[in-house]
């Protein structure tokens, strides 16, 4: 099973139409990866679908980098009892 990081990068690549191998943890979704307003919403929606979780809107949209998204999603999965390969 892929790690949270791999799955976050895969979703990001799919939504933003990028090569997953070029996405780094320190990349900012907006400044580095070029996410526009609606794409930020789509990213959160796709993360929810990928991990089967519900994220609080304002908190999720305030996450700026890929690395922070990995941490945030891992934490939400833990809180909502969703099993990931990163345990």
């Amino acid at each position: 099973m892929a790690t949270v990081e791999e799955r976050v990068k895969a979703v990001t690549a799919q939504v933003l139409k990028l090569d997953p191998n070029e996405i780094k943890l320190e990349d900012s979704f907006t400044a580095d990866l070029g996410a526009e307003s609606v794409q930020s919403i789509e990213l959160v929606a796709m993360f929810e679908e990928e991990f089967g979780i519900e994220m609080e809107e304002d908190a999720a949209l305030s996450v700026e980098t890929v690395g922070k998204a990995v941490e945030f999603i891992a934490q939400v999965c833990k809180e909502q009892g969703v099993v990931t390969d990163d345990r």
Partner: protein, 466 residues
């Protein structure tokens, strides 16, 4: 650089000051005054107490069926009767809309008047409108009216060039003969000083009004002449310091304080040729004119008259209370007028289809957080018109989510968040970015897309609808 004359320290707080004494939200923003207003008249300082308007018996009069009809094809009798009925409900039991005037010349005019009066409403009282001809009083008398307006044009443009009098004295004598005829018939004359803001005030207007007051002192109070100040071409100016004959403050002061016309016999009638019509009406109220003459949605000769519905909100703002007014009828009137073919621009205040619709995403975000941020007052409570968002490429996801929540009627905790509408937001963006669309997206299109892209929400909130 100018040196600061006064220091203004920050008043820090963690509790917002929303100025609710002025912006109660349940009412239109209140107009509050502090201290007297000064005008220099004939070298003297004259003070006006605008705050007194709260306790004065200011009122609205209406000319939708007279001046209002001069700007459009005639209404049918049924239409006028229905509008009159709605107007009565709007003004409420205190008769804030106190009077409305009717033509009396044709069979249809007279039947309209009869049918309106047959409704039995106390207000608006029905009055007439005639030319300054003695013979016309027969029509007023036959219609059983207690008051009629009559043309007493007062600028030299009218006296000499339109009416072809040979002198001002001849003109004044003629007008006074007609006023005398009104008194004899037991009808109160309301003298319409046409083209007042282009008249010789000292040379004709004041002497004429003085003579009217002298004549009125010889008849019972209920017959005494009223004076309508007609800003026929919209030349009136509200600014303090403006000169006669354009100065509204000075005109009212002179008629009220120098000629002795009581405030309850003074009425302002404006036109909108310079976009000043509503403020000029409010100014007239404040300087001592009790009546402001209006038409529904401002429809009137050329550029129109003070809009009745705006005067209603000005009235509430000055009084700080609804005073029995039923503001919801304004929306009913607008719907009715549209249904009979009267065009109302989408951005027209209070009743246009988009008057409280925002198109900017940043404003939609404000509405989403708290509708008071971008709504003028509680438009749902006062006009049955909640604030709306129109969807374009500028709406952003905030605009789309506001539209969806309003469409489903969701408030507070029940509101859907932005994440859940991402497919709809994407469709909207693609309309412009991918398909080059240049028009706003209609409600009907969005409804169809919500049904397609958010079927679970459609089933939950619109499930009983096809």
């Amino acid at each position: 650089m100018n040196r600061a004359k006064k220091h203004h320290p920050l008043v820090d707080t963690k509790k917002p000051n929303l100025l609710e004494e002025t912006y109660p939200y349940s009412l239109p923003p209140l107009i509050r005054f502090k201290g007297p207003v000064v005008e220099y008249i004939d070298g003297k300082t004259v003070e006006f107490d605008f705050g007194a308007v709260k306790d004065r018996n200011i009122l609205i009069s209406d000319t939708t069926f007279r001046d209002g009809q001069q700007a459009r094809p005639p209404y049918t009798i049924d239409q006028m009767v229905h509008i009159y009925d709605l107007m009565s409900r709007l003004g409420g039991p205190n008769g804030v809309i106190r009077q409305t005037e009717f033509f009396l010349y044709t069979k249809n005019d007279r039947e309209t008047l009869e049918r309106c009066r047959a409704l039995g409403h106390e207000y608006p009282e029905c009055t007439g409108w005639i030319r300054a001809l003695k013979g016309d009083f027969r029509l007023v008398k036959e219609a059983g009216l207690k008051e009629t307006g009559m043309l007493t044009s007062c600028s030299d443009y009218h006296i000499f060039h339109k009416l072809k009098f040979r002198s001002r004295a001849e003109c004044m004598d003629t007008y006074c003969e007609v006023v005398e005829a009104a008194f004899e018939e037991g009808v109160r004359p309301r003298c319409h000083l046409e083209d007042l803001t282009r008249a010789d005030i000292d040379g004709f207007v004041l002497p004429f009004v003085e003579r009217l007051m002298e004549m009125s002192s010889q008849v019972p109070e209920e017959l005494s002449a009223k004076i309508r100040l007609c800003d026929t071409m919209g030349f009136g100016i509200s600014y303090p310091g403006a000169e006669l004959p354009r100065s509204i403050p000075k005109l009212i002061y002179k008629l009220n304080q120098e000629c002795g016309v009581p405030s309850d016999r003074l009425e302002w009638h404006g036109h909108n040729d310079f976009h000043k019509v509503h403020t000029n009406g409010g100014t007239a109220w404040l300087y001592g004119c009790d009546f402001v003459n209006t038409t529904l949605f401002g429809f009137g000769e050329r550029t129109g008259n003070p809009p009745l519905e705006s005067a209603i909100f000005e009235y509430i703002a000055l009084k700080g209370d609804l005073c029995g007014i039923n503001t919801m009828v304004i929306t009913e009137l607008a719907d009715y007028m549209r249904s009979i073919g009267l065009p109302i621009p989408d951005n027209y205040p209070f009743v246009g289809r988009s008057f409280n619709t925002t198109r900017a995403g940043i404003h939609a975000d404000g509405l989403r957080r708290d509708e008071q941020i971008y709504n003028i007052f509680d438009t749902e409570k006062l006009l049955a018109r909640p604030p709306r968002v129109a969807i374009t490429d500028k709406s952003g996801t905030d605009g789309v989510v506001h539209w969806v929540n309003e469409f489903f009627g969701l408030k507070g905790e029940d509101r859907i968040n932005k994440i859940k509408i991402h497919k709809l937001a994407r469709w909207v963006i693609d309309q412009y970015d991918e398909h080059g669309r240049l028009t706003a997206i209609s409600d009907q299109e969005l409804e169809a897309k919500v049904k397609e892209l958010m079927p679970e929400y459609w089933a939950k909130y619109k499930g009983s609808q096809k």
